[in-house]
Amino acid sequence: MILSAEKKSLLWQNYFGVTIRNDQLSIALAGNPNVGKSTIFNALTGLHQHTGNWPGKTVNNAHGSYQYQKKPFLIVDLPGTYSLLAHTVEEQIARDFLCFANPDVTVVVLDATSLERNLNLALQVFEITPNVIVCLNLMDEAKKKNLVIDVPSLERELGVPVVATAARQGKGLEELREKILQVATGLLQPTPRQIKYSSDVESALKELLPLVENITNNSLSPRWIALRLLDGDQSFLESLSNFLDIDQVSFQDWEESKCAQ
């Protein structure tokens, strides 16, 4: 959704339980379970953290803030998930946040020792938002296992900045902060690789795309919506119509206030 700063902070407060100031740049931290996401979160925020639950869910919600180059950042640690296809509450929370909260940057943390499995999540995030940074964590463990990952060519393949880190040793975090700043301020504009589906799926998508194009005024990728329609993903459609309603209510408020003038 393309939101004004006030509306965004209201939405974050009410639907994601996160308080954000208007001047803060927002970061979402996504990744599989056990990839060192929390280590990175802690390293970035230090003691400036708030923990609680996601509204109405029994899933932990951690967010924190930090300053870099005199810019204030707010970072939200999403639940660890293998995918965004919403089979679990955690996946649903992560997906809704990425789709509707509209963070300025999304950092996807990958486990360098099992790149292939971890890339699945990254590719799914790429479909939702272009402002993504891939953080290739656990590089130290990958080295121990004699795995060599060609980071520049991974960067080319993915079309987004890739930062190699070993968060437990504090390695690569400075570069991560820098890249986050660059993407958040629009200095760097990633062009994430889009998943190529098999011809059956692509032709079905082509059929659906014209119908979904106008639903969100392009604030959410029509392709993503069409894909979920093909999935028959009820939980996403519920979330979508929910957030459309929010949009609609505020829209009506705005119209009414205009009439009152």
Binding site: H87, L123, N146, V148, S153, V212, N214
Partner: protein, 466 residues
């Protein structure tokens, strides 16, 4: 207004998507997931390399074998048969030994009571009621458990169980249920109440209910000994030379039948009262570990064997006393026990059991562990046989009470397919919070149990085989 129309657009698009989805022969969601994985695999190929010699991990080789299309299932069944074969072969001798020791001690007890000059009924309740029941529970149930549970824990600890779940996911999907259900079934092998609780790992309420309602079709700790005892006493004994392997095959067959019933019922529920499409699951296969022997022994002996035995003894001891009393209080010609059994007899006979067996199952509602002990107690208390030296004698008791191979098979079938125990029902009520679903979790297995035994019995009788 623009937002209003977007809601309408959404439902319109949804209708169209429904149409496109129905027209496609495969599942789009599977295809989408497969494509995402395909993309990830392609990228990985380009950027990842291993230093030095390219080494295929030990894990990878085993995983390719145990989860392979061709070898996965046969290996699973082979392991199952193997485990039961070891259990049954291994349990025979200690069973006999335990029985002879424990029953020799019973004679000493009787002498002791006589020496003390205790009244007959005290001796009856305590020795013939409580002690004899306990002796049977221990000698029939302890050896198989002490062998089976360490083996099962070994499989669990080595990381094989998640591979089973992986293998089974495909057929669960066919039954429109969730692959995680196989994990809850693995829990159910331990205890159905624990299995029902473990259904919490399934996120979709529909699939969770299916898993809860069908968990009872995997035999739990309490029912395994019954199955093992009856096959070793009855089925394998008939063909002496291959008894061990035949017993193992029969029990494995029972478990496979349980799984088949689980799948069928899941599918039936999915197309009737719990309609819906299956969701896919992400399962992280842990790497194989060398099981820690200490942990295996502790978990299997303390957590499982002794736990089950304790539960059986706690319930079986008073039950033994009560049954002895019921068997020795006469109303007119018949004891209370026989009266009840005779009342149930017509129904029992109809499904190839008898009144005593049916009564044992009903009295076994608090815990399945005590079905066999109750049954033996009721037969013994009415007959004149008193002392036993081996399982062979037990077989004679059963035969003299009119058992045939068909009775044995029916008892096993009924044990596999009858109502859940009280603990499981209570847990189901807690988990679903609904009396309706709890009642259904009682009704479905009961109906299936009765009809399976009924059909088998009638068919066999019609063919004149027994």
């Amino acid at each position: 207004m623009c937002a209003m129309s977007s809601s309408r657009n959404l439902s319109e698009a949804y209708g169209q998507a429904e149409y496109v989805r129905k027209a496609y022969r495969n599942s789009f969601s599977d295809q989408i997931v497969a494509d995402i994985y395909g993309n990830a695999e392609q990228i990985t190929k380009h950027v990842l390399s291993s230093k030095g010699r390219h080494r295929i991990g030990f894990d990878q080789i085993i995983d390719n074998l145990v989860t392979s299309k061709w070898f996965g299932y046969p290996l699973m069944i082979l392991l199952l048969v193997g485990v039961f074969w070891i259990t049954i072969e291994g349990a025979n001798i200690p069973s006999g030994l335990l029985a002879s020791v424990l029953f020799a001690f019973q004679d000493q007890l009787t002498l002791g009571f006589q020496w003390l000059g205790a009244p007959d009924w005290v001796h009856g309740v305590l020795v013939l009621g409580v002690y004899r029941t306990l002796a049977w529970v221990v000698s029939v149930m302890l050896p198989p458990m002490a062998i089976f549970f360490p083996l099962f824990t070994l499989l669990e600890d080595s990381g094989y169980l998640p591979r089973i779940a992986f293998n089974l996911d495909h057929i669960f999907k066919k039954a429109k249920a969730c692959g995680k259900q196989s994990l809850t079934m693995c829990m159910g092998f331990g205890c159905n109440a624990a299995g029902v609780t473990s259904c919490r790992i399934i996120d979709s309420p529909r699939e969770r209910l299916i898993a809860i309602l069908t968990n009872n079709f995997v035999p739990c700790n309490g029912r395994f000994p019954t199955l093992i005892a009856i096959t070793s006493i009855f089925i394998g004994g008939a063909i002496a030379s291959y008894s061990g392997i035949i017993n193992a095959l029969v029990i494995s067959g029972m478990i496979l039948l349980g799984i088949a019933v689980t799948l069928t019922v899941s599918w039936l529920l999915s197309i009737t009262i719990l309609k819906g499409e299956p969701s896919s699951l992400v399962l992280e296969l842990p790497s194989y570990r060398r099981p820690k022997i200490g942990a295996v022994i502790y978990r299997s002996v303390i957590d499982r064997t002794l736990f089950v035995l304790r539960r059986a003894i706690i319930i079986a001891a008073p039950a033994g006393a009560v049954i002895w009393i019921l068997a020795n209080i006469y109303i007119g010609e018949l004891s209370i026990l026989s009266t009840v059994a005779h009342t149930l007899n017509p129904l029992g006979k109809l499904i190839g059991l008898d009144g005593f067996i049916l009564m044992a199952f009903i009295l076994g509602l608090p815990a399945n562990e005590i079905v066999m002990p109750i049954l033996i107690m009721s037969y013994l208390s009415t007959g004149s046989l008193q002392d036993f030296a081996s399982l062979e004698e037990l077989r004679n008791v059963l035969v003299s009470n009119g058992w045939t191979w068909l009775t044995a098979v029916n008892v096993m079938l009924f044990s596999l397919l009858h109502w859940p125990c009280a603990t499981t029902l209570l847990t189901t009520y807690k988990e679903t919070g609904s009396k309706k679903w709890t009642f259904l979790s009682f009704l479905i297995p009961t109906l299936i149990g009765f009809s399976a035994c009924f059909i088998l019995t009638q068919v066999v009788r019609m063919l004149g085989l027994a």
